[in-house]
């Protein structure tokens, strides 16, 4: 339908970037951007122009904590049907994944959409829990389902997170100098370009919202380079064919009717204030954490990350996957140790799949 792949134009953009003679470190916060950067060899093209693009905490599966996975496992072990997206299925908690628990005979289902989970709940008398992960792109989907009278045996284990507070946390942690952000296209489709303004005005950081075709990403990098060269720090929108300044008002209204912000820790990060989404009190019946408090009461508050795993540092943009001693040896897509190797949006999985940064 709409294709934005032109090698000639890509070479033109990179040539212009080289002419700018800048040395920049940019960060994106979206696993699909990482896929585009690696799959089409954009990273190496950009490195020749002095530009490094690092992945940040943009993979929702990867930033889900071991404790949250342990919650889902505990619910499966207590006899609930637990359903989740395929990417989450094989991510280990402290020791086991939901796939391991299914292999033991517990009822864990992989679904494409929360609507598949509703269909499961409608056909059984058993309690069905949707392990509900994702950023703002995904959060309106459970919200919509909950507003449309789902079955009484249905609830969600919300691990939804929102992106701008994590970007702010990264800046404030100060571990890595970031010259500009490539903002995530589909998160932005919901929250809108205006949602990032505070970061540019407060921290003087340039941002460009980008789509997912190779040229989308290259143009976004070019727009960032031009802002930096011109001494500007603003939010620009390369993905205007989908993203509006105000976002999707209807989806935001639905999301905000059902969820409220909460403080939550991200894998590799401390607690980030206001970066999580929890169900409002009026929807307590659909909140698996409240509904199954007893089943979850035995869980520890602190789960250790797997020994040697550097996913936390990878998610903060501090190291590349191949700097992890487990990468490709002890940790592979077949036998993953950390989440970044499991999810198709995880940096380790992407690097191993395409073979080069």
């Amino acid at each position: 339908m709409f294709r934005y792949q032109s090698e000639g134009l890509a070479k033109q953009i990179v040539a212009k970037l080289k002419d700018l003679k800048l040395t920049l470190r940019l960060m994106h916060v979206c696993g699909t951007h990482q896929d585009t950067l690696v799959r089409f060899g954009l990273n190496s093209m950009l490195q020749e122009a002095g530009i490094e693009v690092r992945p940040g905490p943009g993979c929702p599966v990867c930033v889900t904590t071991a404790r949250e996975i342990e919650e889902a496992i505990a619910l499966a072990r207590s006899g609930k049907v637990v359903a989740t997206f395929g990417d989450m299925f094989r991510v280990p908690g402290e020791k086991q994944s939901l796939a391991d628990v299914k292999a033991e005979g517990h009822d864990v289902r992989m679904v494409y959409s929360i609507t598949d989970c509703i269909a499961i709940a409608e056909k059984t008398d058993r309690d069905v829990v949707f392990f509900s992960i994702g950023f703002e792109t995904t959060a309106p989907t459970p919200a919509s389902v909950i507003l449309h009278n789902p079955p009484e045996n249905f609830s969600i284990l919300s691990t939804h997170r929102i992106i701008p507070p994590a970007m702010e946390a990264l800046i404030n942690m100060g571990e890595l100098k970031i010259d500009g952000f490539i903002d995530p296209g589909h998160v932005s489709a919901i929250i809108g370009a205006d949602s990032y303004e505070f970061l540019s005005s407060r921290y003087n950081i340039p941002q460009v919202i980008a789509g997912f075709e190779p040229l989308d990403v290259l143009i976004a990098v070019y727009m960032l380079a031009m802002q930096i060269r011109n001494g500007e720090a603003k939010v620009e929108n390369e993905y205007a064919r989908v993203v509006k300044p105000e976002g999707n008002e209807k989806a935001k209204r639905i999301m905000n009717a059902v969820f409220e912000p909460c403080d939550i820790s991200w894998r590799g990060f401390p607690v980030i204030p206001g970066s999580g989404l929890t169900l409002k009190d009026e929807f307590v019946d659909y909140d698996a954490r409240k509904r199954y408090e007893d089943e979850l009461s035995a869980l520890s508050s602190d789960y250790k990350e797997p020994a040697g795993c550097r996913c936390g540092e990878i998610l903060r943009g501090l190291v590349n996957p191949d700097e992890c001693p487990l990468f490709g040896t002890m940790c592979t897509p077949q036998h993953p140790v950390g989440p970044c190797m499991v999810s198709r949006e995880g940096s380790c999985n992407i690097l191993l799949r395409y073979g080069t940064m």
Binding site: I114, T137, T138, R241, V242, A251
Partner: protein, 81 residues
């Protein structure tokens, strides 16, 4: 996870008040049911679909203009570089 792909709404299959709005969408030749509760989509609209839900309309005119705008952006800048 945030992967979303464009599709064209070809039929609105459920549009009642208080019920999830469903549509049949064409993903480049493959038809699939999607939920359109999050958008105001009509037949013929292009939507961006994520996890079974249309999350936003795709602005066809804006999409067609994008490449042209890029060319202009690149062409007008050599003297600034």
């Amino acid at each position: 996870m945030c992967l979303a792909i464009p599709a064209k709404v070809v039929e609105i299959s459920s549009n009642e008040e208080g019920v999830r709005r469903k549509a049949k969408a064409d993903f480049g030749g493959v038809a699939r049911e999607i939920d359109i509760s999050l958008v105001d989509a009509n037949i013929g609209d292009y939507v961006i679909v994520h996890a079974g839900f249309a999350i936003e309309l795709l602005d066809e005119q804006e999409a067609k203009e994008t490449l042209e705008l890029w060319r202009e952006l690149l062409e007008k800048l050599p003297e600034n570089v």
